[in-house]
Symmetry: C2
Subunit: 213 residues, 2 copies
């Protein structure tokens, strides 16, 4: 027999509903920012894309700056989380570095990750801008530590981990800049090839020494 | 006996003088754009830096947009010239690619080359913006051709030359973004390490297989 069910949603369900809708607002905004730029996107554009009214949008976010901050925050947080998780796995540093780059590259081709690079935090108010920069620095330090571990374990060639981390960040940021979902290559293809160039270099190695991904 | 010398400069000398001064204006402006951004730099700032008046500056350039166009144009032209020259030398493609990247990286850390990346052509009027983009595409195609030649000659690992060219451009652009003349590393150190990562990859190779620069 069916239980007596209240026609009102309970608190937990309501909170989850709200969260789902808030994320939909942010995702639509991130897509628009990435396509036509932050300054050329209005709250009206976001509302139109979601077939809702402008006041509905303001029910979930404060203003356009707030949307941008939330989008970038989600992008950097996801990156930091995935790189951090991979970095702390039990595996040779070289393998962890490869996985971290691949996962990071995948995020860089998606809404919030793309927003981090295409729009960036520079137009945010100082306090929020600095909070984002701190998080980005954390990602950088995770990479530096991984590179250093790889050098120490003897799998990576001696290099300046800071420069290596910048080069990795640069290559992945470029994916954010030019990736188009309707282009000929999938995100995974691009991520794999980018990681291959960074790990193995452009020079051809004898078969036995070339470690394939 | 001294020849009878006119106290007026001849046409050729005057033209050269003008060129030297025009370039000094562009160089001062490029440095300011790179330091504090295009929008935060005024013609007054440029004049002040050169200890001249604003009308003097307008004797050499039309306006701020014109300055930006000339700066970016000089940066891209120099890059295209150096990459093109190296590409047409008689040497294995792999060696030419390495030299091209190294020279390109050096330019990327200097005034006009830095301006190409830090400021960019996006705020220029459409016609000039497109002219710059065409030139940048030419540089991209020089790299793609070099990578393809390297694959064909068997010195470079098979890869998508377009993706390789993007990764090269990304790594070099990053040098423009974060290089500071008073940092601990010289331009040459950075250029060499960046090229080494791109050519040899991060993975350690057995001594005999690792080709040093």
């Amino acid at each position: 027999m069916a239980a007596n069910v209240s026609p009102w949603k309970n608190k937990k369900t309501r909170r989850r509903d709200r969260e789902v809708k808030r994320e939909a607002v942010l995702r639509a905004a991130a897509d628009l920012f990435n396509e036509k730029g932050f300054h050329s996107t209005s709250i009206d554009d976001v509302a139109r894309r979601l077939h809702v009214t402008k006041p509905t949008i303001y029910h979930y976010v404060e203003n356009k700056d707030d949307i941008l901050y939330q989008c970038i925050r989600l992008g950097v947080d996801a990156t930091r989380k995935v790189v951090g998780e991979v970095a702390s796995q039990k595996a040779p540093a070289m393998e962890r570095l490869k996985s971290a780059m691949r996962e990071h590259a995948r995020l860089a081709a998606r809404d919030f990750g793309m927003c981090v690079i295409r729009v960036g935090e520079s137009s945010l108010p100082a306090e929020r801008r600095n909070r984002i920069r701190r998080l980005r620095r954390e990602v950088d330090h995770l990479y530096r530590a991984l590179v250093q571990e790889g050098i120490d374990e003897g799998s990576l060639a001696p290099c300046d981990p800071k420069l290596a981390s910048f080069t990795i960040a640069a290559a992945i940021a470029w994916i954010s800049r030019w990736y188009h979902a309707d282009g000929p290559l999938s995100v995974d293809d691009i991520a794999d090839q980018c990681v291959d160039i960074l790990m193995n270099g452009l020079i051809k190695r004898p078969r036995s020494n070339r470690r394939l991904n």
